[in-house]
Amino acid sequence: MSNPLMLLQHCWLYAGFELRRLWQTRPGLMTLAATAVIWALLFRYAIVPAADLIASRGFVNLISSLFGNAGLQQLSSWPTPELAVYWFFSLLLLPLFSLFFTANQLCSDLERGTLRFLSLRSSRSSIVLGRFAGQMLVQASLILLTLLATLVLSAWRAGGLSADMLNAMAVIFVNLLLVLLPFTALMSVFSALVRTAKLAVSLAIVSLGLCFGLLSWFIFYFPDFLFLLGYLPGTQVIQLLALHGWQTLQHAALPLGQSVVLLALATLAVKRRAL
C-alpha cells in the first residue's frame, strides 16, 4: 500500500475511533452531557426567546457598538431570529469551548505510553492528523445536533421548513467548522508538547493572550503592522458576524491556512519527540 493511501486510511481509522470515544465511552458521554447542559441553557435563555432578544434594547446596543448598524442589519437578514441568535452565540462561544474539548488529542496517550503501541502500526503524522480529524468529526456532530434542534424550533415557530432555513443551516455549519479548525489544530500543537490536557489548555490561553498582547504593543509603536492582528486564530469571527449567507466564505482561506501551518507544527513536534 502506498504511503499517502496508508496515511489516509489510518487517519480515517483514528477519526472513527475518536467518534466512538464520544458515543461509547464514559468520558465521551460526559462531554455530550456537558454540551447538552450548555446548549439547554442557551436554548432556554437565548434561542427560544430569540425574537424578543433581538428586539431588546440591550442586545441591539451590544451589536450596534460592536459592528454598527450594518452588523445589526446583517443579523436580522437571517431567515429566522433563532438561527441568527444561534449564529451569534456559536461564533463567540464555540472557539473557547473547542480549546477545552480538544485539549486531550495526544497528551494522555503520550503520558500513558499508548502512542508506543500506535507508532508501531502507523506513522506519527497519521496519529496527529487522524486525531485532529476525529476531533473535528466530534465537534461537527455536536454542532449538527444543536443546529438541528434550532432548525426544528425555527420551523415550528415559522409554521414550516423553508429552503432559506436549510441554506442558512448549511452556511452556519460550514462556517462554524471553519472557525473551529485553527483552534483544534492549535490544541494539536499544545497537546503534543505537554503531558496533561489541563496544561495544554493553560498553555494555549496564555500563548494566545501573550501573542495578542505583544502584537498590540508592537502595533502601538509600529501602526503600519496593524494587519498582523488579523492573522491570529479567530480574528475573522468579528468580521463574520457582520456578514450572512455564503458571502461569509470570503474569510475561509485564513482559518484553512492557519490550520495547515499549525498541523504541520504539531506533526513536527510529535515526530521530534521521544515516545
Binding site: 504511503n3 481509522l13 465511552t25 499508548t114 503501541f117 507508532s119 502500526r121 515516545l275
Partner: protein
Amino acid sequence: MSSLIRCDGLTKQFGSKTALQQVSFELQQGDTAALIGPNGAGKTTLFSILCGYLPATGGQAQLLGHRAGSSALFGRIGALPQDAQFDPGFSIGEQLQFYGRLQGLSSKAAVAETARVLTLVGLAAEAGHKAAALSHGMRKRAAIAQAFIGRPELVLLDEPTAGLDPANALAIRQLISQLSGQVSFLISSHNIFELEQLCNKVLYLDKGLLQASETAAVQSDAPHYLTLQLEQESSDSLLQAIKLLPGLISVQQPQKKQLVLRVQRDLADSFDISLLQCLAAHGWRYRSLTQGQTLEQKLFDIA
C-alpha cells in the same frame, strides 16, 4: 541468511550523558536474542531506538532491512514496550481490534486475530474488560498479546515477565519458546536464567557499551566446562576426590552447592562418567550436571 537486526556504531546521548556508545551487532532471521545488562546499561534506550520511539544520535539501526521506525516495518514487528498502558476508555478487545485494523486487517479478521492473541496469553475471557479492571499481570499479558497481532516476523519484548507471578511467567516463557521457530525475538530482561532457557544469542550491555555478544553455539560447543549442582553443600573431601579425577584442569565454587569444573577437551567425554561414578561411590547426591557454564557465569567472567 538475511539480517534481522543490524546496528552499526549506534550512539545515543542525552545531553552530556552517553546512553549508548558505538553499539554494533547483527542478528539473523530465526534468532531468539537476549538483551541483558545492569540497570542504566542502555537496554531500554537500545530497545526504544529499535522500535523507533527514540532517534539515535549517531550510527544506524536496521530491522528486516529497513531503518528503525520506517513505515515499511508497520505490522512486521511487534513490541512490548516498558510501562506502556492501554487507553482506559476502551476494552482490551476493542483496542486490539483497532490495532489489527491499523495493521491492515479487515474488521472481521481483526476480531478473529484479537481472539487468537488473547487466547495465546490466556486472556480470551477478558476481551470485554477495560485495562483498569485487570490485574497488573493481566495487563502485562494483554500488552504481550498486542505484540503478536498480525503474526509479526520480529517481536521485541522489554521485561516480558517482570511483575508476573511464577505460573504466568512460566506461561509466557512457554509461549515464547513455542513461537520461537516461527517468530524471531529480542528479549530484554534482568532474569538471566529465563533468557538462558529461551535465547540462542546474548547481547550484554554495560554503561552503554556492548560488552559481549555470545551465541548458544559457542556455549553448547564448550564441553570443557561442567556445572555440577549438588544436593548438599560441597565439602573438602568432595573437592579432593574430584580433583583426583583424570582430565580436570580446575574447579571453582561460585555457590555453596555448585561447582564449575574445567576439563581437558580430549577427556571431556569420559570425565562426566568418572565424575558421576565418583559421586555415587561416596554417596554424594547431586541435583544436576550440565555441560558448559551457566550464562551468568560466562557473562560475569567476561564482564
